[in-house]
Assembly symmetry: C2
Homo-oligomer: 597 residues x 2
């Protein structure tokens, strides 16, 4: 049977020892986030994830969602009850401002507990997850009336939300979309068209579903400049807030997917459905990007989450399964064979995941803290820098954590041998579920392009310079620390590769943009490798400090250092390969005619 | 709808231009393999794969196999008819000696057509595929009577075969197996026990199923020294060759797997079933390895096959799907967007697969030719060297082609964006099917250990020296060829990395075997990178020669060179990373206690 235990200790180590959250108690919402409070919240989230969400994960995959003849959708057994507990615990509104019914706590805390929820049950967690994105869009672009009408119920989880972007012929290139919005005399619109791949598109777990829908107002310009965003509720909402008529939006089919079977991914048909514009006419994409950016961080977190739970199962299996003997002599003479965790190649797989996931957790929390600073700080410079870094990190976090989350699910599955290939152990599900995270909310190739083509050069490279400076300063400040040299030295080397590759783009991609496109995915991973190396250096420093202070938990911190050294020795050197590939340019890619492929 | 076209032209290019098969017409079976004959055979195989096997691939996945209440198994619709056509075409006996009903043609030809069959329908092709392994074991270790009783029907495909090794508690470590064999007065045995993950274990497509079963004779030593191999037919065979009583071997369940749903992977229960020992008592593992080695080459080929068909679908989709505009300016002004194949990142993915798959095809055929030479040559030295190289290449071919075949199926799926995640396009199936090839017939970690722990040092490193010499000689002989320098130079660099890593093992793994285990997977991939680089150098040389001779098909050969240069520029440099990781040793892997993972 699959196992999952939320890594509470690691979360607290990062929040308290590495990021020093108590230093931010001048930010709104952070004053309540004392170490005790954080521990209580994180512990409560762990309980919900382990005891309520996780037991429904495998059964949810096997059962899947069903569209009934009346176009309603049945979700897997137990999902509704678990979702209700999720909402009752206040998890849907954890970081939402109190004026809309939330708790106003830091986003970094929301991120910390979000990891547990997705590890425990990614398909189920997507239902409230989509709502978060819709809330973010309404918070930023909604009118006061729209906020009052929709937010309290959404924050409470009684209503859920969705994002309706993709159509059969367009996903990445939203400029091609055809869904129409016809203006009505009362200021509303009639929305008509078909959307596909709509996560949590239809279900009976909430009283209402608030669809955020991209569409083109009649007569609007072609391309991305003619797209607007609309709120299309499943049930119309009266002025008194009461639910009214059923709107003309229906689930046409449930997609037959590789994974996340517990989530109802729908074809949604809009047949002159009533919609309300949110944000300015023809400015729908910028409103959409508010929820998209939120969603991208959430999807990156999913990659981390699945890597973590897959790892835990592989480690547990490797400790239990006996097969063969250690190369360095029998380790368990009382048994007929040694547990497979004695084999270096099994440890290589496990440490590859572990060393990435621990740094990935630090990366997500560090980024989430930047988001808090960007949104809540009163210091304009600090706010600006945090926002720059958040924008730069979003595609890296999404692309790298999901590419690797999938790879790691596969690696963990491999530890099980043939038992990983049958569905009973749940390892196949992790692989199948993790796969989607590389695709949705912008396929990872698009993340890489966003990074190289847009984020890198933004404001004269201000964001990338800020990150280089932060990492460079860390190396410089700790240069004399001999206990840290096995971290700072390889980190500096990785940073040099990253800076050289960045310079290469500056010199070679302006005149020839294909050089940027050719190296974009390598650059995204190169950046990820270095940032995770930086996280390891920060964690090693914190671990060293605890050890120096005579902690009673020396094993924990020593194991942190071992895991980190594995990353520095075996994983981080990949920066050189990524740089080599980038510098090989685009010539061999672009030379061949399309029909010769 | 999925597409597949057998790459006949590429196969012929390798067989004729690169390997020069006509130079081997002194070997038995090769005298009939004239270029015309080869073209006819390969073309006929292509037709069967494209028209008969491929149309059943997606439906076979969706339908799967069913175990009925009477323990019979129903395979997907159309499989029986397609299998019959496969047999009628003589494909089951293509490379089997004529005295047992085969055609005695080269194994390299069997390998060439095998690729098409697995690309078209891996699950279906496994039924005759398993029979090949069983035939090989009986050919080498069977008595004359056993050969006469079983082989003709198996070669004809009227009977199929299976391999029964794995038990619930043991896979890799067969020394733990518990299935019992009780000797009977008539020289037969009663076999009792349970086997799991038995591919093609039960079905009604053939009149009989010949199970080859590992079991322990009562009183035999513990561990691997007490294992024998048995023939256990589903229906007993009379002295006259007629089918007799149903034997006490039944399908207990069909495994619920991630993929290859069209193949009936069974739990097999042996309940005092009648079995006949094949090979010497307690020497079952060596008999088993005959079929295992055959199977490993077949599984490596599956990795290649799935990579190829997934690639073809991705390339086709990338030419058709319009989305966004080229970074270097509009390419299809008549359309609302450019086909996505204009984007460098899409080309990067496609060329990563294409450059690997074309070299992988050369690698499988080059290795298969070594097998032919090893088995058929009259020259003792040539025979010995070929056998050395075959043994060394088997784990590399299995491990590298299946690891990469899976990665490439994932990469091809990614080209489809969200459409790759739904089952209709078939891309999910390629990923799910390819996944098993990394696991069965020895998980890839075991292949890497076989390479580093066994094959590398065998006979004082004779095999590895032979390969280094062959590649080194090629570089030396062609050093002056300026048209080839962009291939020979990086190849030489890769070979240097491989030789340095090999030397590192010699110096560091004798005293500390964990150093070998820690670097084994990296070494396997390092070796694969170099061998595929060698294949590209050979292909480039052949392409250059055709171009120099004024071929009318210059585009084809120029595209070969472009694809090869992509490999040399972007893929082969990974050798340096692999070497770095190997040289980082095992310290950071072995330091942590098992419970700290």
């Amino acid at each position: 049977m699959p196992v999952y235990k939320a890594p509470v200790k690691d979360t607290l180590f990062i929040l308290n020892d590495v990021l020093g959250l108590d230093r931010y108690n001048n930010l709104p919402g952070f004053e309540d986030a004392t170490p005790d409070m954080i521990e209580a919240i994180v512990g409560e989230a762990a309980r919900l994830a382990e005891e309520v969400l996780f037991p429904l994960n495998l059964s949810g995959d096997q059962e899947g969602c069903t569209r009934n003849d009346d176009a309603t959708v049945t979700v897997p057994k137990g999902f509704k009850q678990a979702y209700d507990q999720y909402c009752q615990g206040g998890w849907t509104g954890l970081a939402i401002p109190a004026e809309f019914g939330g708790q106003g706590l830091p986003y970094v805390l929301h991120t910390a507990v979000g990891e547990y929820m997705s590890s425990a049950n990614m398909a189920l967690t997507m239902y409230p997850g989509l709502t978060q994105g819709a809330i973010a869009a309404i918070l930023v672009h909604g009118t006061d009336a729209q906020k009052a009408t929709y937010l309290p119920n959404m924050v409470e989880g009684r209503w859920s939300g969705t994002m309706n972007l993709t159509e059969p012929h367009c996903g990445t290139d939203l400029g091609l979309l055809r869904t129409k919005a016809a203006p009505q005399a009362d200021g509303s619109y009639r929305i008509s068209g078909q959307k596909i791949f709509i996560s949590a598109g239809e279900h009976g777990m909430t009283d209402n579903i608030i669809h955020l829908v991209l569409a083109r107002i009649e007569g609007a310009p072609e391309g991305t400049k003619g797209i607007s965003l609309f709120i299309v509720p499943k049930f119309l909402v009266g002025e008194d807030g009461a639910l009214g008529a059923r709107n003309a939006v229906t689930c046409g089919a449930i997609e037959h997917k590789m994974g996340i079977h517990g989530n109802s991914t729908c074809v949604m048909n809009y047949d002159e459905a009533t919609g309300y514009r949110i944000g300015a006419e023809n400015k729908g994409l910028s409103a959409m990007f508010v929820m998209m950016n939120e969603a991208r961080l959430g999807v990156g977190l999913q990659g981390l989450s699945i890597g973590e739970v897959a790892y835990q199962n592989a480690a547990s299996y490797a400790r239990d399964r006996i097969q063969g003997r250690s190369l360095s002599g029998v380790k368990a003479p009382e048994k007929k064979a040694d547990p497979i965790i004695v084999h270096p190649d099994i440890r290589r797989a496990l440490l590859t995941i572990k060393s990435f996931t621990e740094a990935g957790r630090a990366f997500t929390l560090w980024t989430a803290l930047k988001s808090d600073i960007a949104h809540r700080s009163g210091d304009a410079t600090e706010k600006q820098t945090a926002d720059d870094v958040l924008g730069l990190m979003t595609p890296i976090l999404k692309g790298v954590l999901t590419d690797k989350g999938f790879d790691h699910a596969v690696m963990a599955q491999q530890v099980f041998g043939g038992h990983g290939y049958i569905e009973e152990h749940g390892m196949s599900q992790y692989v199948r579920d993790a796969r989607i995270a590389m695709i949705y909310e912008g396929a990872n190739g698009i993340q890489a392009l966003d990074l190289v083509g847009r984020k890198l050069g933004l404001n004269g490279g201000r964001a990338v310079m800020a990150v280089f400076k932060e990492i460079g300063d860390f190396c410089e400040e700790n240069r004399a620390d001999e206990t840290l040299v096995s971290f700072t030295k390889p980190l500096k080397k990785g940073l040099n590769d990253l800076q050289a590759a960045t310079m290469w783009f500056m010199q070679n991609a302006m005149a020839k943009p294909d050089n940027a496109g050719a190296g974009s995915t390598d650059y995204m991973h190169l950046f990820g490798l270095v940032v995770l190396g930086y996280m390891w250096a920060k964690m090693a420093k914190a671990a060293n400090e605890s050890l120096a202070s005579g902690t009673s938990d020396a094993d924990y911190y020593n194991n942190k250092l071992i895991t980190g050294r594995f990353y520095m020795d075996k994983i981080l050197p990949e920066t050189a390969l990524r740089k080599t590939r980038i510098e090989a340019g685009s010539d061999s890619l672009m030379a061949m005619a399309a029909e010769a492929f």
